[in-house]
């Protein structure tokens, strides 16, 4: 039966039909839906692990126990999981072990656009890349078998467009699902990587890659399509689809096994065409391999190395490079004469991170001269000089507070980095007070060891944990702090404030996310102490709670157009002429009321209140 599936849905269904028994992941765009979909299927164990390294180790353990296991993550997640990933390559596996890495060219929702295809060669594991959902679904059945046959983890690499685009899939409605029985067979030479055991594994890994090199020569999904032989395009993944659209008559070699490459197949193809052209997103990985093989190839000389490709870029660049004739149509007109306002992402109305970010923004002036300015509307949104507190930030919705008008943050690098960075700034001798800002899920992912480090080394960073009791940015997944498992069942809850006390933090505070005076007072107090402190600022994600309170309204007679409320960056507050107005459809109501708290004229009240 035909179904319209995203790549991630297809991967999940394919893995299920391939008999996967254990799946583990940490949410991360664009990979999240793989585990979410697996969590709806019966007969497999599925978990949100605390981070990607843990997920990888859980999958490794399951594989050692003889069953098929899958672990999925976004590209940067594989950095976190790299240690066990490399270890799994050394030990090999028992049950098939598939590692899904979903890369994000163009950085739709990421801090970088690293090309994880490098990891295959680096860790000496085979890699496959689907070019649509149909392939993703069918390949899943093959990759578990491949993993078992060659005693290796397999890297299954997608990109955002493969993971998130929906394409038609012919689904096997009555699959025979092969299940392996769990059994651990003791084999210290294979599984205990002391140097004496690890040394003999390395030659085996090299031998494995040699065998795989022969195997991929006849891999059924690598496909040669011969058309006009003046140009032969070698491509993989989403880039292949763009190239097919742009070069309608050219010859193609579509690669699915991108490490190791089917070298003979490539040579044969290259011999049949006049000119070999590689179309790949991000780094010149296929191109460099072809060059090393002595094949003359045109690649990054015309395909951009940065950003996400699309048919338009490819076409324009191909014309510039002389690979396609100039289009007879005049270049497309763009609406340039009107500068259209941008619509940058913002925190949602009622977001529990707004109050804390607003407070940090205000306290940024705290150690400098107080600036009780009453700005014009332009100045409200403009950059204002911050001194005093340095706010290192982490990865999550709250990172959006870097944008105007909140402008609350000074750094953001990777999961968990905010604590270490604050500690490093302090130990470097920077005189400012340090506040590190991290979400509940991110703190549990990789903030804990950092907090241990601060306590141990007598740092005095103030750690603000923004606890909205969910992993919001990726679509509300559970985590240890919620106690709700991937299947939505009751697990055991890890209480963040107890955890921090257990680590040895003596100054642990829990504050309501919508009590602005208390948030400010607590931060002010904590940054003045000589020891590490934690402030858990807790409030629910508005998209995660059912129902809402009574909307707030502006008394237009009292509003004197000071625009203080606009500094919150709340989407529900709009201007009508010179007066603020609250859109009742967007306002989450009296559960938030931050605007009421910041209005110096008491012009904002709960609808119906006196």
């Amino acid at each position: 039966m035909k179904r319209l599936l995203s790549g991630n849905e297809a991967i999940a269904l394919g893995a299920y039909h391939a008999g996967v028994s254990v799946a583990a992941a940490y949410p991360g765009t664009p990979s999240t839906e793989i585990l979410e979909n697996l969590a709806r299927m019966d007969g497999i164990y599925v978990e949100w692990s605390t981070n990607e390294k843990v997920a990888m180790e859980v999958a490794m353990g399951a594989s050692y126990g003889g069953v098929r296991a899958l672990v999925s993550m976004k590209h940067v997640g594989l950095n976190v999981a790299a240690d066990p990933f490399f270890a799994a390559s050394v030990t090999g596996i028992r049950g098939g072990l598939v590692v899904v890495s979903c890369d994000d060219p163009g950085m739709h929702s990421s801090q970088n656009e690293q090309d994880n295809r490098h990891y295959a060669r680096f860790a000496k594991v085979p890699m496959l890349e689907p070019s649509d959902s149909q392939e993703a679904y069918e390949l899943m059945k093959l990759v578990f078998r491949l993993s078992e046959e060659f005693d290796t983890p397999v890297l299954f690499r997608t990109t955002t467009r493969i993971s998130h685009c929906k394409t038609v899939v012919e689904v096997d409605e009555t699959p025979e699902i092969p299940k392996r029985s769990p059994k651990f067979v003791r084999d210290p030479n294979k599984f205990v990587m002391v140097p004496t055991n690890a040394r003999p594994r390395h030659p085996l890994m090299e031998e494995r890659i040699q065998k795989l090199s022969s195997y991929v020569e006849t891999f059924p999904f690598n496909e040669s399509i011969l058309g006009d032989r003046s140009i032969g395009i070698i491509s993989a993944g989403a880039a292949y689809q763009y190239a097919r659209e742009v070069f309608q008559n050219a010859s193609f070699l579509k690669l699915v096994t991108t490490y190791p490459l089917p070298r003979n197949l490539i040579r044969e193809f290259a011999n049949k065409v006049e000119r070999v052209v590689v179309v790949e997103e991000l780094d010149p990985i296929i191109e460099d391999s072809l060059k090393a093989m002595g094949i003359e190839v045109l690649g990054k000389g015309w395909v951009p190395i940065t950003g996400e490709l699309n048919p338009q870029i490819l076409k324009e660049e191909a014309i510039k490079a002389g690979l396609l004739p100039k289009s007879r149509k005049p270049p497309h007109k763009r609406p340039v004469e009107l500068k259209l306002p941008m619509r940058p992402p913002l925190l949602c109305p009622g977001c529990p991170h707004i109050g804390a970010s607003f407070a940090l923004r205000r306290l940024g002036f705290y150690h400098a001269q107080p600036q009780e300015d009453l700005p014009s509307r332009r100045e409200v949104l403009g950059e204002l000089k911050r001194q005093g507190i340095i706010a290192t930030s982490d990865i999550g919705c709250y990172t959006l507070a870097v944008y105007p008008p909140l402008l609350a943050l000074d750094t953001c690098a990777c999961m968990g980095a905010s604590l270490g960075q604050a500690h490093g700034l302090e130990k470097a001798g920077v005189a400012n007070k340090m506040v590190s800002v991290i979400g509940d899920s991110t703190f549990l992912h990789s903030g804990i060891t950092n907090l241990v480090n601060i306590v141990y080394n007598k740092g005095n960073t103030t750690v603000v944990i923004l606890d909205n009791s969910t992993t919001a940015m990726t679509g509300h997944q559970g985590h240890p702090g919620t106690g709700i498992t991937a299947r939505g069942e009751e697990g055991r809850r890890v209480v963040i404030e107890d955890l921090c006390r257990g680590i040895g933090v003596r100054d642990v505070n829990v504050v309501d996310a919508f009590n602005l005076p208390l948030i400010e007072a607590t931060i002010r107090r904590c940054v003045e102490t000589d020891e590490a402190s934690v402030i858990v600022i807790r409030g629910p994600c508005p998209l995660h709670v059912k129902g809402k309170g009574t909307s707030l309204v502006v008394d237009a007679d009292k509003c004197d157009s000071c625009f203080a409320c606009l500094r919150l960056g709340c989407l529900a507050i709009v201007m009508e002429g010179d007066k603020a107005r609250i859109d009742a459809a967007l306002c989450v109501g009296d559960g938030c009321s931050l605007c009421l708290q910041v209005c110096p004229r008491e012009a904002i009240k709960v609808d119906g209140a006196k």
Binding site: T167, V168, Q241, N310, H332, K333, R334, P341, C348, R377
Partner: protein, 203 residues
């Protein structure tokens, strides 16, 4: 034969549900379909666009500027922003609603008027329809049905039968809202018809 539909709007307007419904209905009508959403990072309030491509065999899931046979804009500014995706003579359907972004609220930039948006779109096509979608949806009792109303309007231009959409929506929309959604869908079709805009999309 190909049909490229670009749907654009603001996070929270239900763009993705509408494009899912169109894509799945098209698949059941025998088309090859690819669909790609660009959501950005924000759950609410950011720009959203959804590319739906139908044909005998679709390769790229995203279209190029100048490809779109239909531009369905849930919000005026977003319609103007994506106008250059329209192919010459394509059909632009614009919900005449303004959701000002923060830079407009803060008076840093100006929100384009309906007339300005129309002028931008007419650079690419003369087949442009403005629709007071939000007012109609609110009058029907729930602003949330805007997406299905607009889908109904668009459907009148496509060659697929009404029933296929209705079946799809019956699976897609929560049961307690189904009746209202089906009414909104029918109303969208009527709005298209009453403007005597009905054309076959087969090209």
């Amino acid at each position: 034969m190909k049909i490229d539909v670009l749907m654009v709007g603001v996070g929270g307007q239900g763009v993705v549900l509408a494009s899912d419904a169109l894509a799945e209905t098209a698949m059941k009508n025998g088309y090859d379909v690819k669909k790609s959403d660009a959501l950005g990072m924000a759950q609410r309030g950011g720009s959203v666009s959804s590319h739906v491509r139908l044909g005998e065999h679709v390769f790229s899931p995203i279209m190029s500027k100048g490809d779109a046979d239909f531009l369905l804009a849930f919000e005026r500014l977003e319609g103007a922003r994506s106008a250059d995706y329209l192919r010459p003579g394509g059909v632009a359907i614009i919900n005449d609603q303004a959701i000002p972004p923060l830079s407009v609220v803060g008076d840093v930039s100006a929100y384009p008027s309906t007339r300005e948006v129309e002028r931008i779109i007419r650079r690419y096509t003369n087949e442009v329809y403005f629709l007071p979608g939000r007012e109609i949806a609110e009058e029907m009792g729930n602003a949330q049905v805007l997406n299905v109303l607009l889908l109904g309007f668009l459907s009148r231009f496509l060659a697929m039968g009404e029933q296929a959409y209705i079946e799809d929506l019956s699976h897609r929309v929560p049961a307690r809202f189904l009746e209202l959604n089906l009414k909104a869908f029918a109303r969208g079709r009527e709005e298209a018809e009453s403007r005597r805009l009905v054309k076959s999309a087969s090209k």
